[in-house]
Amino acid sequence: MIGSLILLFALTTLYMSATSRIKAYIKIVSLQGVILFLILFFRADNIFSLNFIFLAVETLLVKAVVIPLFLSNVLGKSAVLRESDPRIPNFYSLVISSLVLFSGFIISNLHSDIFEQITPLYFGISISTIFISLFIITSKKNILTHVVGYIMMENGIFLLSLSVAKEMPMVVNMGVLLDLFIAVFILGLFISKINSAFEETNIHSLTSLKDYGDDD
């Protein structure tokens, strides 16, 4: 059961790299939050411990509901609904993401003693997700896409922390969530301000601060 969920997670990352509709991004990120919650649910030994309740609330509520709602809100205010001409055509983006996913698997399956402490399926897919999100961030121009890529990276990191055999200390978990929540909040606020401050209706890259070029 957990295996299928993790695979579903991997398929969502592939879909993310191939599509260019921002609404789709937000829906997929929300779906990933639900998948993570289900994985947590099936994996937990004791579903009534404080740690579990806290994590469950966090994945289900924050990742699957609050943050996507907030981002849709921000999206509604901006005029951009699609990622227009990305730097790499979607097709090659999909190819590269599949290759990254595949290499993640191979690396995590390395048949030697040093890789004993991890569960390969978790590890391979989470590392691939992190790299695929970095790839999405660097190859797309729209800043909302960047934020979604960041959220996906945090999802991958969460999955990675689940793959470690022992529990991460509570403090650290709290720190990650707080970081994610506040960072996205601040980024969303900035996006709203950017919408009103910049004249172009199509937010491409923010490029006015640079060297060796004409500064505004």
Binding site: I2, G3, S4, I6, L7, A10, L11, L14, A18, P89, N90, F91, L94, V95, S97, S98, L99, L101, F102, F105, I106, N109, H111, T119, P120, L121, Y122, G124
Partner: protein
Amino acid sequence: MMASLILNIVVILFLPFIFIGVINKTKAFWAGRKGASIIQPLYDFVRLVKKGQVISKTTSFIFPIAPTITLASLLFAGLLTPIVHHRAVFGFEGDFILFAYILALGKFFSIVGAMDTGSSFEGMGASREAGFSTLVEPAFFIIMASLVAITGNYSFESVSLMLHKTADLGYLIIVLSGITIFIMILVEGCRVPVDDPNTHLELTMIHEVMVLDNSGIDLAFISYGAGLRMVILSSLIANMISSSVFVYVVVLFILATLIGTIESSFARLRMTHVFEFVFVLCSISLIVLSLTMLFLYGDMGSL
């Protein structure tokens, strides 16, 4: 042996009509119509066979023979696939490789026949069709290789032997392979979201435009061939699930209705997105390969 041979031939000869008939009936159902009868494609076939042919003067000798070669290759491939039983009638070790390349031969001739007419429209459709086939082939081989590696059997029999591998991972592999082959059906059978068989706009056609100049018995062969392709691939899926006749019929029926439903619910994707969609086959097959490696070399218990 005799019985399975007869069954095989009967299925290959007649099931494609019924398959396409069910698809059309499903589409009619969704559209609120009563629709043509299920064996309407058979009537169409007979009608077309009785008609004469119009052959363009700009074509060479390839054009008349291309659909025949395609059909021949498909029938031969049909004899190689396992229908109902574990093993195909003419199955042998490594038969899936012959299968893939015979199909490729047929596809090659249909493309060449289309380009032979000298029409730029047909050339456009041919190039797109070639693109899809290029992307589908590695996916097919990777999946077959994974199944072969797991079961140790070098023929199509390995598909049904997967049933015996009851580990969690085994089921995942079966499910993913099934999904891949299903998408392959959509690609090879030229269905939505890859290609719309009902479109009348030439710029949006892919397969249809290749057969614009064919008429009479050639056209009959081609439309029958599309159905046969879909039946062959569906048999592979059916074999993954079980090997009884009843299950076989049910699975094919379900697949046909599914294809019809998808055709009624979705629109054909934009052309650039179609290529991405077809590439998804390769992505999923890569995942299947990784899972196979995990299955073989990893700890089967823990995931």
